[in-house]
Symmetry: C2
Subunit: 299 residues, 2 copies
């Protein structure tokens, strides 16, 4: 059992990761957005003292839907992340995991993104910031004797996702009897259920695999297929409009490291994962969202 | 004429860059190590107010001889650099130049390092920190409408260099009548006189070239050749011992961007540059080093 400091713990992925870490028997010191301002350097030492954590899972970052791709705050978060890891190392931390992103890859380079061979040529400021930060932390951690991995997250979906994201936005329209229109239907992505994402992160924190590890399922689904699955489960296929396909990219994870080195296999496939999400949404999940249970320090 | 904020102004390269900027008619707000602590976030806004600079030349970094290659402070300086540039942009800055390094290249990949085609695979924490920082600043600057270039410095030498560096250390031994031993004599580097380095930086600040620009001469010289030149100029060749050659790398700049886009051509070749340096050292330059004239805010 370890003491794990989790930042971004009240976020979509953070909530799932905190749950998975606790299932594994770890004590979690969860930092939510409003509790500790990670952008304030003077908040770091007190945080490390209180947390007294041997492990760090750093999920916090600027995440405003859409805007985060080019948000200048990416630079602020990169600098804040370097300071956070320094403070963690000074406080005696031994293992850290950073949430990176599939946006660190060159999306035009390969259909299946491999941690070691696929070129890193991020198309966005967000991707560049994550790539620079993770690359620097990898080299620095090794010089510090700190064990470090960066989790390259593919496309999480599931309960507690933001209303404007793909699955909730289509489900809400269809549940309300409104037509839902899908653009970019031909884009193929590796959609991973957020509970699998959280479990994979917990397994990564728990182990000693270093370097970059993709967090995905290894299977690609088109956006059109995801939308059609939501519509079929809700029995509202007649309300779904799919715009004609345009040029599209395929962004799917190679999962050999995750499966063979971390030892993690996803529980959900697309059908079962979307069914679970749509059922949760149908029961009013997003509408009756409770106060985030994982927010705040707790053990 | 612009107002240029120069960090690291009292350093080896900084002194030369400040002189070159003034020669070009610019007002320089020079920040020396002891004057403003760039690592202290609360010092940045007052600094920007006082400097009121449209241009930024950021040279400050951890530079302890030898140790800086793996100094954990590289992470601190990376974070501090991101904060500095943010503060500069917020204060209305329009153009910035970061001092990068040839250590950002893969030294095994090519004899002539080209800004666009030679792989970046830094072998050291210093190189990784400079590469990550410059890559991130390049993408971020473009998103901010800030004009930005990173100067990839090769191997500056000249007056005011640290005593333990190649040219001064050999010259001091030979001037004192002591034998000087050269190891790694077969390593080929692009040695650039510090005054040329400063002038090139000033030209880069002055222009509008964006992205990475090598600062070198385009000519490689072996360490043995540099040592032999020093010995010959001092007439002490009999005191020079050169260890048998071992496997060595060649690190020489491609200078097309510097010459054709920035419009800069070095003034010194190896012979004239080392002669100037050795004469300065012979006259007691390093021993009678004056208080650094470029330190402190001045215009």
């Amino acid at each position: 059992m370890a003491r794990v400091l989790v930042t971004g713990a009240s976020g979509f992925v953070g909530r799932a990761a905190v749950g998975a870490l606790r299932l594994r028997g770890h004590e979690v010191h969860a930092v939510a957005r409003l509790e500790a301002d990670l952008l304030d350097p003077s908040a770091l030492e007190p945080l490390m003292r209180t947390a007294a954590a041997s492990h760090l899972l750093h999920l916090a970052w600027t995440t405003a839907h859409g805007a985060f791709w080019s948000d200048p705050a990416n630079l602020t978060w990169s600098a804040a992340t370097l300071r956070l890891f320094e403070a963690f190392a000074r406080a005696g931390g031994v293992r850290s995991v950073l949430a990176g992103s599939c946006a660190q890859y060159d999306w035009d380079a390969a259909d299946r993104a491999d941690e070691t061979t696929t070129p890193r040529r991020p198309a966005t400021l967000y991707g560049a910031a994550k790539e620079s930060t993770s690359r620097l932390l990898t080299v620095w951690s090794s010089s510090q004797g700190l064990s470090h991995a960066t989790a390259l997250l593919f496309f999480p979906y599931g309960p507690y996702d933001k209303d404007e994201r793909l699955v909730p936005s289509i489900a809400h329209d269809l549940l309300a009897g409104r037509a839902a229109t899908v653009r970019n239907g031909a884009e193929v992505r590796d959609f991973v259920h957020v509970d699998d994402c959280g479990s994979a992160l917990a397994a990564l924190v728990d182990g000693d695999v270093e370097g970059d590890v993709n967090i995905g399922t290894g299977h690609g689904s088109s956006i059109a297929e995801v939308a059609a699955t939501v519509a079929r489960i809700l029995g509202r296929e007649e309300l779904l409009r799919i715009d004609p396909p345009r040029a599209a990219t395929t962004v799917v994870a190679a999962v050999e490291r995750l499966r063979d080195e971390v030892g993690f296999v996803p529980r959900y496939d697309l059908e079962s994962g979307i069914r679970q999400t749509v059922e949760w949404l149908s029961e009013g999940g997003a509408g009756s969202r409770p106060a985030t249970p994982s927010a705040g320090a707790s053990r």
